[in-house]
Amino acid sequence: MKHIAPLQAAGEAVVKVPTRRTLAKQQTRAKVLAAARRLFSEEGYEGATIRDIAAAAGMSTGAVFANFTDKSDLFREIMLADMVALGEAMREAADRAKGVDDALLKMFSAGYAFYKSQLPLARAAFSVGWTPEEGPQLRNSEPSQQLIEQLVDQLNAGVERGELGQEAEVKLRAQMLFEAYLSNYKQAIFEGWSLDALQARSRDQIRVLLAGARRG
């Protein structure tokens, strides 16, 4: 798929110094992505057109299409890059935690903090995420699966430490935690909930969803 391209570019760079052409191409891509990020935030997914994005990036639509197949390709690339960064933020947050509840809560909070400054983009992502074509691509993407994997890891660590029982139904519970985490964006986006309010809500959700798995 198209979005694997940066990785390949990075691999080539180890072997040989990038040519001026490659550099120029990378710069173009970066410029388009920055403009697209801004327009998706301002106009939503449907409202932002390739033509507007090209104009904002100061180039022709042809130049945009030379780098991205279509609008969904552009949007996906932005989303995937963000999810990778989000995964990093969550991992760091969980490393500082004590116990499974705290680790999950810190991961949730890291997520809300990450998107706090770009809620309109998050809103566009949710809208796109429910479409029959783009939804599965985003949800089944490697970075998205990695986020759930992190939740699985935390639950497994809880089982190992004896905080949770062996029968913890880790996979289903991780998925439900992830859905609960995502569902709170509705409050964040539409009702302007503060990070504190989101955190308080998350703490309760985590408690409820872990209750059946606790030992003793």
């Binding site: 449907e46 566009a124 439900m176 059946g212």
Partner: protein, 227 residues
Amino acid sequence: MATETEIPAEAGLGALEVAQPPPLVVETGVRQSQKEATRNRVIVAARDLFDAQGYQGTTIREIAKQAGVSVGSVFTTFASKGEILSQVMQDRLDGLYEELDRVMPHLRGSTADRLCTMFSIHFSFEAQRMKLFLAHIAAAYDWTLPAAATPFGKTQRLQDIIRECLVKGVVEGDVDPAVDHQEIIDLLMSAYAWTYRLAVWDGAGADTLTVVMDRQINLIAAGFAPR
């Protein structure tokens, strides 16, 4: 994508409507029923199109064509595509909720059992129109959705039914009185939405959905049980 044709029509037609002289009483009746007929045709056409090609993939122009009415007359009845979808769902759900209102008081068993039954009724009902329901969820995040529309998550009656279930559970002793009902409702709703997605993406049928949802309800039930 779909939006280009929609916006300009709104303002102009609204103004036309106002500019007309007040009609006679008899004509009002005729006009009223014509408007009603148009509305119903638009609802039926929109329901089929949203279900076949999704919300984003459907334009107002297509809806008008399928309904056999002009784009302009669609806009005299509905302000936007989001509002049409909202109305389509509302009409459908009215039937479902009447059914549930009848059934719920007679259900026996634990709170979890009653919730399982309630959601399985939902799944068999929605199974006929899977994509339509997903469109409903997607529209909750739609840019252009008017404030009056009812996106998924704000369906008050479903939430009320769950709430009554929980209140009854408190009385019967299998729901912790200290538990925040709205939080449990939101957890159930997000589990419900996710399970639906499974259906459309993996092509699971109503039976599979019910099994997956039952597991989730029981997991949540462990969280609202008295300690």
